[in-house]
C-alpha cells in the first residue's frame, strides 16, 4: 500500500489538492478574522491576506474596555456554567429514575418524556408561556427550558443501564437510599457521558443568541456575548462607531473582528474534546441497525 504506483500519481495529486483546498476553505475564514483582529487598523490591506500586518492588540483592548463586551462575556460564561450544571442535575436525576425498572408507572413516565421530543408547539405559544411565567427579561429564560433535555436524558440513561448493578445493590443493602446511591455512586461512575453532555450543553449555551432576541432584548445587562456581536454586525450606525473610534485609532471592522475572535476562542479550546465525543455519539445511534 505504501508503494507509489506510477499510474496512480495524477489521481493522488488531484485528491491531495482537493483535500488541501477543503482544509483551506474550512479554516481560512476563521484565520482571516483572527489575523485581521491583531493587525494594526490603518495598515490592514484590503482583500485577502495571510499574516497580520503590524501586530497590535489595540482592537482587543478597546473591546475589553467596553462595558457591553465585558458584560456579554460574563453573561455567556454564566449561562454556560449554570446552564450545564443545572442540566446535569435535573436530566441526570431523571435519567436515573427512569432507568429503574421497579419504578411504579415507569412506562408512563418514559412515554411522557420521549413523546415530548416530537411535540413542537411553535414560537408564539412558547413565547406566551415564558411571558406568563415572568421568564421574559430574566436570566432564568436561559436556564429553565434547558434543564430537562430529553436527548441527554436518553443518553445518560443508556449509559447508566450499562453499569454493573452490583455496586448499587450492595449499597442498597447497606441502607443507602436512592438519592444517596445516585449522588455518591452512580453519577461519579457516569463521568464520560456527563462530560460529553456538559460539553455540548456548554457550547449550545455559548452559541445561543436567538433566545435573547425573543425574550431579553429589552435588558442589555442580560445580553450574552453572541448577542453583543450581533448588535455590532446589525447596527452599523456610523455615529455609534465614530464614538468608539475616538478612543483609539481602531476601525469598526477591527472591533467586529476582535469581538468575533473573543466569541470563537472558547469553542476552539474545547474543539478537540468536542470532536471526540461528537463522533462517538453520532455513531452510537448509527451502529444500532
Amino acid at each position: 500500500m505504501k508503494r507509489i504506483n506510477r499510474k496512480d500519481l495524477p489521481f493522488t495529486l488531484i485528491n491531495t489538492v482537493i483535500m488541501l483546498v477543503i482544509m483551506v476553505v474550512m479554516i481560512y475564514p476563521f484565520w482571516y478574522v483572527l489575523v485581521y483582529s491583531v493587525s494594526e487598523s490603518s495598515y490592514v490591506p484590503g482583500g485577502l491576506f495571510l499574516f497580520p500586518e503590524n501586530i497590535s492588540f489595540d482592537a482587543f483592548i478597546v473591546c475589553l474596555s467596553n462595558d457591553d463586551v465585558v458584560n456579554g462575556l460574563y453573561i455567556s460564561v454564566a449561562r454556560a456554567v449554570v446552564g450545564s450544571a443545572t442540566m446535569v442535575v435535573v436530566s441526570g436525576m431523571a435519567a436515573y429514575a427512569i432507568s429503574k425498572e421497579r419504578l411504579c408507572g415507569i412506562k408512563f413516565f418514559r412515554k411522557y418524556i420521549l413523546f415530548s421530543m416530537y411535540v413542537v408547539a411553535g414560537l408564539i405559544p412558547t413565547y406566551f408561556v415564558m411571558k406568563s411565567l415572568n421568564l421574559t427579561n430574566s436570566f432564568g429564560v436561559y436556564i429553565f427550558p434547558a434543564m430537562a433535555n430529553v436527548f441527554n436524558i436518553i443518553l445518560i440513561r443508556a449509559y447508566m443501564e450499562s453499569l454493573p448493578q452490583t455496586i448499587e445493590e450492595s449499597a442498597y443493602i447497606d441502607g443507602a437510599n436512592d438519592f444517596q446511591i445516585f449522588w455518591k455512586i452512580v453519577l461519579p461512575l457516569c463521568k464520560p457521558v456527563i462530560a460529553a453532555v456538559v460539553l455540548y450543553s456548554a457550547v449550545s449555551q455559548w452559541n445561543s443568541y436567538i433566545d435573547t432576541q425573543l425574550y431579553n432584548y429589552r435588558n442589555p445587562k442580560l445580553y450574552p456575548l453572541q448577542y453583543v456581536l450581533y448588535n455590532y454586525m446589525a447596527a452599523y450606525t456610523p455615529s455609534k462607531e465614530s464614538a468608539m473610534t475616538k478612543v483609539a485609532a481602531v476601525t469598526p471592522q477591527s472591533i467586529k473582528m476582535a469581538v468575533t475572535v473573543i466569541a470563537i476562542i472558547p469553542i476552539l479550546i474545547v474543539y478537540p474534546m468536542l470532536q471526540r465525543y461528537f463522533i462517538s455519539g453520532l455513531l452510537v445511534g448509527a451502529v444500532k441497525d
Binding site: 482571516y32 482583500g47 419504578l103 411504579c104 405559544p125 429553565f144 443568541y209 470563537i264 453520532l282
Partner: protein
C-alpha cells in the same frame, strides 16, 4: 399479546382490592426518592414542551393582546385561509423554504458522500485525520459567528474576497452576496454545505470503513482499478445509508432554524430569503399578529407530518420497510 392485555386488566382491577392498594402505595413510598428525582424534569417538560400546545387555540381565534387567550372570539379557519389565499405570501415562503432546505439537504449529503469516498483514498493517515478534523470547525460555531465570518469576506464595503476580486479586475463591482435577492439561495445553500460537511460525512466515513475488505480484494483479483472499486463496491454500499439519511430528514424539510435565518434575512433579500420560521417570527414578534403566526406555525407542523407519512409510505412500498 392477548395474555399481556389480560394481565394488565387483572392488575388494574386488583388495584381496587384493598390489600393490593396498600402494597402499591407502600412501594411508591419506598421509591419516594426516585419520584422526587423525577419531579424537576417532569415539571420542566410539562411546562416547556406540553403546555405551549394549549397556545394553539390562538390559531382559530382572533386573539387580542392583553385579554385572556380563551376569551378571544372564535374565527375558525380564517387565519389558515388568509395564509394560503388572501396574502400572496404562501407561495413565496413555501418556495423559499423548500428550495433552500431540499437543495441544502441533497447537495449537502452528496458532497459529504463524495468527500467521504475521496477521504478514504487519501494515503496519508495524518492528512486524513487533519482534514476530517477541520471539516468540523464551522459546525460548532454559532450563526452569529458564521455570519460575521461571511460578512468579513463578502461584505460590499470591506469584504476581503470582494476587494481581492476587484483588485485583480475580475469583477468591477463588489458581489453583494449578503443582500442580493438573486444570490440568497446560493449563499444559504453554500453556507449550509460548508457547515454540514463534517457532520454529514461522519456517518458515510464510518460506513465505508465497515465495508469488508474481502470485497475489495476479490475485486482486485478480478482486475478492478480504483474507479471500478468505487463504482461497484463503495457506492452500492452507501446508497442505503444515503437513502435513510434523506428520508429521515424529510420530517424537518420545512424547518429552517430561526438562528440562521434571523441573521441572514434583511430588507434587501427578504423576497427570496424568507422562510417559514422567519415568516412566523416576523408576523408574531414584530407585527404582533399572534393568531396568524400561530396558525402558520401549525400549518408548518401539519405539512411536515404529512410529508413524513407520505415519504414513509412510498419507501415502504418500494423497499418493504419504512421508518415506522
Amino acid at each position: 399479546m392477548q395474555e399481556q392485555q389480560e394481565q394488565d386488566v387483572l392488575v388494574s382491577i386488583s388495584i381496587f382490592r384493598k390489600a393490593d392498594r396498600a402494597k402499591i402505595l407502600r412501594k411508591i413510598y419506598n421509591q419516594r426518592y426516585l419520584y422526587i428525582m423525577l419531579l424537576p424534569a417532569m415539571i420542566c417538560i410539562s411546562v416547556f414542551s406540553y403546555l405551549p400546545i394549549f397556545g394553539w387555540v390562538m390559531a382559530v381565534t382572533d386573539y387580542q393582546v392583553g385579554k385572556s387567550m380563551w376569551k378571544a372570539p372564535f374565527v375558525g379557519l380564517k387565519h389558515f385561509k388568509e395564509f394560503f389565499l388572501d396574502s400572496g405570501d404562501a407561495i413565496g415562503v413555501i418556495r423559499n423554504t423548500l428550495v433552500m432546505n431540499v437543495s441544502s439537504l441533497v447537495l449537502g449529503l452528496f458532497f459529504a458522500l463524495v468527500f467521504a469516498i475521496l477521504l478514504k483514498e487519501v494515503k496519508s493517515k495524518y492528512l486524513q485525520k487533519s482534514v476530517q478534523s477541520l471539516t468540523f470547525l464551522p459546525y460548532f460555531m454559532s450563526w452569529v459567528i458564521l455570519y460575521a465570518v461571511v460578512y468579513s469576506l463578502f461584505s460590499v464595503s470591506s469584504g476581503a474576497i470582494n476587494e481581492t476580486l476587484m483588485a485583480l479586475n475580475i469583477i468591477s463591482e463588489p458581489i453583494n452576496l449578503l443582500g442580493d435577492p438573486k444570490l440568497s439561495w446560493a449563499l444559504i445553500i453554500g453556507v449550509n454545505i460548508w457547515n454540514s460537511l463534517g457532520y454529514n460525512s461522519v456517518i458515510f466515513i464510518s460506513s465505508i470503513a465497515g465495508i469488508p475488505n474481502e470485497e475489495y480484494e476479490a475485486a482486485v483479483i478480478d482486475g478492478a482499478g480504483r474507479w471500478a472499486k468505487i463504482r461497484y463496491i463503495t457506492i452500492p454500499h452507501m446508497i442505503p445509508t444515503l437513502m435513510v439519511l434523506l428520508i429521515m430528514n424529510t420530517g424537518w424539510l420545512l424547518n429552517s432554524g430561526l438562528d440562521q435565518f434571523f441573521i441572514f434575512t434583511n430588507t434587501l433579500n427578504i423576497e427570496t430569503m424568507e422562510v417559514f420560521d422567519y415568516y412566523i417570527y416576523r408576523y408574531g414578534m414584530k407585527l404582533f399578529d399572534y393568531s396568524y403566526a400561530t396558525a402558520v406555525s401549525m400549518i408548518k407542523t401539519g405539512v411536515s407530518i404529512v410529508l413524513l407519512i407520505i415519504v414513509n409510505k412510498v419507501v415502504k412500498k418500494n423497499s418493504g420497510r419504512g421508518l415506522f
